[in-house]
């Protein structure tokens, strides 16, 4: 069972954990990616996430399906924010349950690593003196 979400409202870690919990899963791994207050020492005021929504959701769904098949994960919740985020807020929450902990860790890590490579979402960092699309240039 998979739950994919792309939302402008605050992510709910408990909802993700509750979704993946089950009486026959021994381990749950949760990854939370939060907005850092600085990049290379330069203070970040806030972030904006832009998403190509239908494709982002389709790619997140694919990733969760692959993680489930590849590692034998049981349930996966993959929630991503869009829009304006304040420092400290979660940009992404991934919760994975599995019969054994190694599968939960591996599947969760696969999800975040692959998400960062393929899901069409773009982060803009807003500084005191300007703004920058992250990772755009070599």
């Amino acid at each position: 069972m998979l739950e994919i979400k792309l939302t402008e409202t605050l992510l709910d870690v408990n909802a993700c954990i509750n979704f993946v919990s089950s009486d026959d899963a021994g381990g749950i791994d949760v990854f939370i990616g939060t907005v850092r207050n600085a990049t290379k020492g330069k203070p970040v005021l806030r972030l904006e996430f832009e998403a190509y929504e239908p494709m982002a959701i389709a790619e997140m769904q694919k990733i969760a399906e692959q993680a489930k098949a590849k590692f034998g994960a049981k349930k996966i919740a993959l929630h991503h924010r869009s829009g304006i985020l304040q420092i400290g807020e979660a940009a992404v929450v991934i919760a994975v349950s599995a019969p054994h902990r190694a599968a939960a860790f591996d599947a969760c890590r696969y999800c975040i690593d692959t998400l960062k490579e393929t899901v069409p979402i773009w982060k803009k960092e807003i500084f005191e003196d300007g703004e920058v699309w992250v990772a755009a240039h070599p």
């Binding site: 998403a51 190509y52 494709m55 393929t118 979402i121 982060k123 699309w133 755009a136």
Partner: protein, 80 residues
């Protein structure tokens, strides 16, 4: 043949528009469209990568475009 081109992130800053409608001759491949796009918007070449997606899927350069396809310019993603 008409296609829609969507631009995101820094690609939108470069093309200046979220949506573009382009008229294409028949049988244009993704690779050929890429060349036309870079010709029209040379700053796209400054990006680390630009992947093209067709109808919500990453597309190979060989894929031939069809009527009303939705092509998206995907600069380096930075979600998560």
């Amino acid at each position: 043949m008409k296609i829609t081109i969507l631009s995101f992130g820094i690609a939108k800053d470069i093309t200046g528009q979220r949506f573009l409608e382009w008229e294409l001759p028949q049988a244009v491949s993704v690779g050929e469209l890429r060349k036309s796009l870079v010709q029209r918007f040379p700053r796209l070449a400054e990006l680390a990568t630009v992947r093209l997606a067709v109808n919500n899927e990453y597309a190979s350069e060989e894929l031939v475009l069809g009527e009303n396809d939705e092509v998206a310019l995907i600069p380096p993603v930075s979600g998560g």
